[in-house]
Symmetry: C2
Subunit: 333 residues, 2 copies
DNA sequence: GCAGCATTTGCACACGCTTGCAAAAAGCGC
DNA sequence: GCGCTTTTTGCAAGCGTGTGCAAATGCTGC
């Protein structure tokens, strides 16, 4: 390792002709320093290129300023968008993001998380697919604040941010009925995430209120390929559905492509489709998918605001609304 | 902030009946401890739930174990895939990733980077779009190792990982000629990234060798929308191109959609298209885009291997090959 | 000038860890 | 058992910072 020599507060103090504590205080908002010395310190620091060592500061303050983002399927459009928004907000709040990838289901997940705990992260935001309760407990047990996005496991003391999936699902039923559809289907993955299941159950419930049954097909993980497989199953039935609500835009894209290119169905004339997430691809002119936009900006803002507030942060549950974006995959928008 | 009390090495030492140094050594690979005491320590640590405090360790060792990933456009398919691979490899190597988002072009980029330097990151990997030299210099000046992916600015002491964009570009010309195309065009963004420019220049050079001119159109940032705009410009020319090489798959998707839905062209019969990156969407059946796959796994592995090697790591330049993936957007694959 | 007060400042200790150094223990050949 | 070498252990001095406390300084009103 190359010898790295950083300037320390001592050197700054010497150059500014003050004590080392003065330097420390100059970099601590709200500390007791006169403006005169603060200026002297800041100038000396500037000249020397001094940067407060956050490892040492974290050690003293018992507060590292690190927030760790625990996420699987980072490369997925929805997740990566949320990730972008979160890192942006964190940076604005003066925090720093540590990224934990839980794609590998072997022990490396836990190893990575322990790694983060060793850095004494102040908080964790979980937007991971796998609902591994042991992970969340490990976080809380180590005194971190915890934000759970779209997973309503009842973890007391944490901030839960969820969408009103039921309400959204019922709006889809209304839309489908208005489009004159009657053979409803739901396309899901086998992930079994709380929010995915809520969309499914909400859809079924709302359909039943209108006296309609719903065909449910689930397959694999929540991606494009799964959409194709589900399409295969749904569109070869004797009673072919004329409306499919997909738990996810990726599923919807896969299903849509299969419906068009494999079954030569035209959308929305022969088949109406609604997705969820409003990923970028949903607006591409090959899809023009009617879907729900998650309030990603608001989610990120709420999360960061909660975890960077002072004092004791008590558990809270936040339910946000998803916005229905009308495009061309449902008749009669 | 909730009172967080972690168990310290002292407590472990007491419980195991050894000195604090013994605990420290038990957690340091290659340190001088007998197996007997190491076992005693590990057991006591297990029982107490002890985790080495990496802030303190980093302070002592002058080596934090933190690698910071500096990236813009995180939500983009190619970037997020690379990000996934990098975090995975880093975790495997026992390092931890700090994510710096440089999307905002205002001062927050530099502020975020300084933030990372304050945590004494050992290394930075730059996969950011903006070629801000001041950033890279700041990293090097603070003694970090530096990995630059797809940006060949000559930064001595860093590891440069690049693709052979020229070679790839020349293969595209060959493919287009074999498909019987003669009116070649190149679609680019205005980002001006070294790798994007290399694709453009390589394409032009290779075409000229075959006695062909290339129409070049650039617009905006490297995304879907830009592809549509460029399509607008290219496909309304009197001499409409019959083959377009797009600097990026996103551009290609936008261009393809516009060509089909707006200009009613059929691909590849009336227009051949080649992209770059092999993002997931390129394989979707609405596109089936012929494109180049970046060896993302290899890039990540090389990067992590280089930055986690012991001793002095001297600058190095690595050129990898992109794999041409034949799909259906060029005639005669 | 002085008492009385608020504001600044420096000292010194703490944070939790690593590591050089010397002392202690263990191993070995006889 | 004794000398010798090798391994293991504990001590203590750091790493760069924050902060309580007491001393010092600066004000104010008389």
């Amino acid at each position: 390792m190359s010898q790295r020599d950083f300037v320390s507060a001592d050197e700054v103090a010497r150059r500014a002709g003050v004590s080392r504590s003065a330097v420390s205080r100059a970099f601590t908002p709200g500390a007791s320093v006169s403006d005169a010395t603060r200026q002297k310190v800041l100038q000396a620091a500037e000249e020397l290129g001094y940067q407060v060592n956050h490892l040492a500061r974290g050690l003293m303050r018992n507060e590292s300023g690190i927030v760790c983002l625990i996420v699987s399927d980072v490369a997925t459009p929805y997740r990566s968008t949320l990730l972008r928004e979160l890192t942006l907000q964190l940076q604005l709040a003066g925090k720093v993001a540590m990224l934990i990838n839980t794609d590998r289901s072997d022990g490396s997940v836990n190893r990575a998380l322990e790694q983060a705990i060793r850095y004494r992260a102040d908080a964790s935001v979980i937007l991971s697919g796998l609902p591994d309760k042991s992970i969340t407990e490990l976080c809380l047990r180590s005194g971190q604040r915890l934000v759970l996005i779209n997973r309503d496991e009842d973890q007391s003391g944490a901030l839960h941010i969820n969408l009103d999936d039921w309400e959204a699902a019922s709006r889809v039923v209304t839309a489908f009925m208005r489009a004159g559809c009657s053979r409803l289907a739901f396309a899901n993955s086998e992930a079994g995430t709380p929010s995915l299941m809520a969309r499914e159950e909400g859809f079924i419930a709302a359909a039943r209120e209108h006296g309609l049954d719903v065909i449910v097909e689930r397959h694999g993980s929540t991606g494009y390929e799964a959409g194709r497989v589900v399409a295969q199953r749904l569109l070869t039935r004797k009673e072919r559905p004329d409306a499919v609500f997909c738990a996810t835009d990726l599923l919807a894209c896969g299903l849509m492509d299969a419906a068009r290119h494999q079954f030569s169905l035209s959308i929305p004339q022969q088949l109406c489709i609604v997705g969820f997430d409003d990923i970028e691809q949903a607006s591409w002119s090959s899809y023009r998918l009617t879907t729900f936009a998650q309030p990603i900006g608001a989610i990120a803002r709420e999360a960061v605001a909660w975890l960077s507030q002072g004092g004791v942060a008590d558990g809270r549950s936040l339910t946000l609304q998803a916005d229905l974006i009308w495009r061309d995959s449902v008749r009669g928008g």
